[in-house]
């Protein structure tokens, strides 16, 4: 049996088995769940080789599955994050209702993502895309909060995107007579100009929704924050990358083949830039960690879209690197929020404070991920940002540099807010009972945090596969070529010449650590956070001195003009308007038999009158 089939059968069977076992025994269910995630991952990495394909036919269409170099990059994200978040989920979701449903849905969406990466034809691509959509939708509404608002919004946007994609797919089919992605790519330059324009736009609407591109992003904040955090880690970390995956294929394989593609890419890049700025500003304004991370995800995806839109080899390298990094650090952050939610019951910055000494490992993981997110060296986020800036400057996108830089600087605000809001600040007696999350939740976070550190120091580990993937898309090998632009990347990759920097950092750190702290360590004593110099006042136990409300009020006041215009009310208004129209249409059915009879007669008369036009006689 083909290994590719086996992987999907395991996924599918595991999903069903997990659901059914969920009705019987919790432990068995958990074990099956983890096994269903881990076994295909192992099979995938050991048994499936790149370029291996299987062909079959379904409903008269020839389908083909097989992984490419390019898909392999995303498979790292999907399976890595899927397994780690799965381990996390087992501990995080313990004691919730309906877990069999949750787990089988989780497996289904991992399967769908893998399916997307495996699909070499548009039909199975679309099928897996839709499975991914509805399984993630079921996760969004899993908690039962704001279902009709948030859930439906997500699904409408996903459906519009998917249907746009479907339209492109059937149009392609009618034009080429084949459903293969390759044949679309080959035939694309020969299309009419209108089709050359229409097909990428339709596809990009589909991918843009999933990757939360600016005018299509309004679902993101609600959905990311309403899904269980164990899933949101995958949702934001991996699932949104499917949009990027498709977008890169469209941009690189289709649009770039025609001379007008240049403008197309510009638009995409600018949309990405606007997404980044808007996402960041809204993230700064949030008081809820889930919402903050959700908007932050939108912003981060914005950077990636900028890279994709610019489309030079370095930019593409940056985008893919950032996609991997985003999976790592945003997954960790969502997991951390989930851990905090599990331990304290809330995710609001105005309520939880001072967890650093209670949940040190969660803090450590969050800290490393935040540093990566903010793009501060030496963690991985910087490498991506750096390559993005270099590529933007190198390809003459000067204003875009400023836009991206603004967003990236403003990102420090919410990064700090996240760390401060949960971990720093006053340690309140209200949260004195809080303990570190269970090991099964902490370990995946720590692993991923260390992962983002390792990728920051040894970016070659992931840059090499990315390079291979890009070559498969038709880029020339970038190995070493761009890395020489700065000493940072001089001979980076396998060998590390960052040693001087690292040594310096470590040496200075140790020096000052000893100098400042250890020398008089005995005389440095710990005092509680209630013992602060607040004008000689002694804060009583119930007095919360933490500063958490209106955290960035002055900044938000300054950027108010930028945030005044939202697109969400526009959509809502459109929806309301449509409902009003539908309500008007509904009145055609009066419920009166006489009216219906009248309709019939009028219909007959109309047919008689317009018989020439209708029937051509």
């Amino acid at each position: 049996m083909e290994m590719i089939y086996l992987i999907f059968i395991i996924f599918l069977g595991g999903a069903v088995a997990t659901y059914l076992l969920g009705k019987i025994n919790g432990v068995l269910r958990d074990i099956t769940f983890l096994a269903t995630l881990i076994v295909p991952a192992v099979l995938f990495y050991t048994q499936v080789s790149i370029g291996q394909t299987v062909d079959f036919s379904m409903s008269g269409m020839n389908l083909q599955w097989g992984i490419t170099d390019f898909g392999y990059i995303f498979a790292y994200i999907v399976l890595g994050l899927g397994v780690l978040a799965g381990i996390y989920a087992v501990a995080a979701m313990k004691g919730k209702e309906n877990l069999g449903f949750f787990y089988s849905n989780y497996i289904l969406s991992i399967m769908a993502m893998m399916g997307i990466l495996f699909s070499r034809d548009l039909v199975s691509f679309f099928i897996f895309w839709e499975i991914m959509t509805w399984s993630s939708y079921l996760m969004v509404v899993f908690s039962g909060k704001d279902v009709q608002k948030v859930g439906i919004k997500y699904f409408i946007f996903s459906a519009v995107g998917a249907y746009a994609m479907l339209m492109a797919i059937v149009t392609t089919y009618s034009l080429t007579g084949s459903m293969m992605i390759d044949s679309l790519v080959t035939a694309y330059p020969g299309f009419d100009f209108s089709m050359q324009l229409l097909i990428p736009i339709l596809l990009l609407i589909g991918f843009g929704v999933k990757s939360a591109m600016m005018p299509l992003h309004v679902w993101a904040s609600g959905s990311y924050s309403h899904a269980p955090m164990a899933y949101t880690a995958v949702f934001s970390g991996a699932l949104s990358k499917m949009g990027i995956y498709g977008m890169i294929i469209v941009i690189v394989s289709l649009v770039s083949q025609i001379p007008e593609g240049h403008w197309f890419r510009e638009v995409i890049a600018w949309l990405g830039g606007i997404t980044a700025v808007g996402g960041t500003l809204w993230a700064v304004a949030q008081d809820d960690a889930k919402k903050l991370l959700a908007y932050s995800s939108v912003a981060q995806l914005g950077y990636i879209i900028v890279g994709v839109g610019v489309g030079t080899p370095l930019a593409m390298l940056a985008a893919l690197f950032m996609a991997v990094m985003h999976g790592l650090f945003k997954g960790t952050l969502f997991m951390a929020v989930g851990a905090i939610e599990k331990q304290t019951g809330t995710t609001n910055f105005t309520e939880v404070t001072g967890l650093i000494r209670k949940m040190p490992l969660t803090f450590l993981a969050s800290l490393m991920s935040i540093i990566a997110l903010a793009g501060i060296p030496p963690l991985g986020g910087f490498i991506g940002k750096w390559m993005l800036y270099e590529s933007l400057v190198g390809s003459d996108h000067y204003m875009l540099v400023i836009v991206v830089f603004f967003s990236s600087t403003a990102a420090f605000l919410y990064c700090y807010k996240f760390l401060f809001g949960f971990f720093l600040g006053q340690e309140e007696p209200e949260w004195a009972h809080v303990k570190e999350a269970p090991a099964m939740m902490v370990v995946p976070m720590i692993i991923m945090a260390i992962g983002s550190f390792i990728l920051g120091v040894f970016p070659g580990l992931i840059l090499n596969p990315i390079d291979a993937g890009l070559q498969e898309l038709g880029y020339a090998s970038t190995q070493g070529r761009y890395w020489e632009m700065s000493m940072l990347f001089n001979e980076w990759g396998d060998k590390v010449v960052l040693q001087p920097i690292l040594y310096t950092i470590i040496a200075v750190f140790v020096f000052f650590f000893v100098f400042v702290v250890a020398k008089n360590f005995k005389k440095t004593r710990y005092v509680s956070t209630k013992d602060i110099s607040s004008s000689g006042e002694i804060p009583k136990a119930h007095e919360n001195l933490t500063f958490s409300r209106g955290f960035f009020q002055p900044f938000l006041r300054a950027v108010e003009p930028l945030m005044k215009h939202q697109i969400d009310p526009l959509y809502t208004g459109f929806g309301r308007g449509m409902e009003a129209i539908f309500d008007f249409v509904r009145r055609i059915y009066t419920g009166n038999g006489q009216t219906y009879a009248l309709y019939a007669i009028i219909f007959a008369v109309l047919l008689l009158i317009f018989k020439n036009q209708l029937f051509g006689l």
Binding site: V393, I501, T524, Y526, L545, F547, F555
Partner: protein, 302 residues
């Protein structure tokens, strides 16, 4: 042997930066006093203060992050210093100067303040957090014109390396402050915020916020912050000199150039009251931004 020279050179650079930064601080205090019609402390007062702070025999901490905060700041300052070409030919201080990349530097410079902000947050003092939020907000304000100026230079000379910019100036023979004046103006206006003198000193307003982020730090912490702040000031000044004033061939010229450019924020600050945060941000997004855009246009036309 080469390694030893490197290490010695690095240590020498740090000491130089420390001494110069501290002395500049003292001189600024003196100048401020003279403007106030006072006598003012001696120019070495900062050294005394630092030494006294270091000599404090007790210290407290509210958690490990508070201890790490100043250390982060110090690391960031020293590492950033390592990447700055102090002298044009690098003769005396051959650190990592010749590989420096502006974008890398920009992010490296944020590392310390963010670590410091975490340390300040750990103390649990609300004033610290308020100060940090103000500082970060203000940073978003001035980074925009500053980056615009840098990008304009990058466009003009088609390089993102500091040494590249210095070489370009050496070849053309004119300093960038003349060859791309708008970028210089934008950068200088951004510098006002970067040095956090009045009117942009809302971050640590002593009477309003009880010195803001550092309000829980005394003794050694404050010493570390003070010294790394001095090193950082030197780093920023040298960076300005390098990219706008063609760098310096020897120490005397370096001191002259850095001091002259240092006087801009100092003198502007002495006679200014204090902006609120959003006023500061709006200030930076007014004329500095305008000059930044001009610089970009200028750079992309020529």
């Amino acid at each position: 042997m080469e390694l030893l020279t490197h290490i010695l050179g690095a240590i020498a650079t740090v000491i130089l930066a420390f001494v110069v930064g501290m002395s500049y601080g003292g001189i600024v205090r003196k100048i401020t006093a003279r403007v106030h019609n006072r006598i003012g402390p001696p120019w070495y007062q900062n050294f005394i203060d630092a030494f006294k702070l270091y000599g404090k025999t007790t210290a407290i901490h509210h958690g490990w992050m508070q201890i790490m905060g100043p250390a982060f700041l110090m690391v960031s300052s020293v590492v950033t210093l390592m990447f700055i070409p102090v002298l044009t030919n690098g003769g005396w201080f051959p650190n990592l100067n010749f590989e420096g990349d502006l974008i890398f530097l920009l992010y490296l410079m944020v590392f310390g303040p963010l670590g410091m902000a975490l340390g300040a947050g750990q103390t649990g003092n609300p004033n610290s957090a308020i100060g940090v939020t103000r500082g970060l907000s203000q940073m978003v304000g001035f980074e925009i014109p500053w980056v615009m100026a840098l990008v304009a230079l990058m466009i003009q000379f088609d390089t993102t390396s500091i040494t590249g910019l210095m070489e370009a100036q050496a070849q053309s023979g004119t300093w960038n402050m003349f060859s791309s004046p708008f970028a210089f103006i934008a950068a200088v206006l951004a510098m006002l915020g970067m040095f956090r003198y009045s009117p942009f000193d809302i971050v640590g307003a002593p009477t309003e916020l009880a010195s803001g982020p550092v309000s829980e730090n005394g003794g050694k912490y404050l010493f570390t912050m003070m010294s790394s702040g001095s090193i950082f000031a030197f780093v920023k000044l040298t960076l300005y000199v390098d990219i706008f004033m063609g760098g310096a061939d020897n120490l005397v010229i370096l001191l002259l150039k850095t001091f002259s450019i240092y006087m801009i924020p100092v003198l502007y600050g002495i006679v200014s009251p204090r902006y609120r945060t959003e006023q500061a941000i709006r200030f930076f997004w007014g004329w500095p931004l305008f000059f930044g855009v001009l610089a970009l246009i200028y750079a992309s036309i020529f």
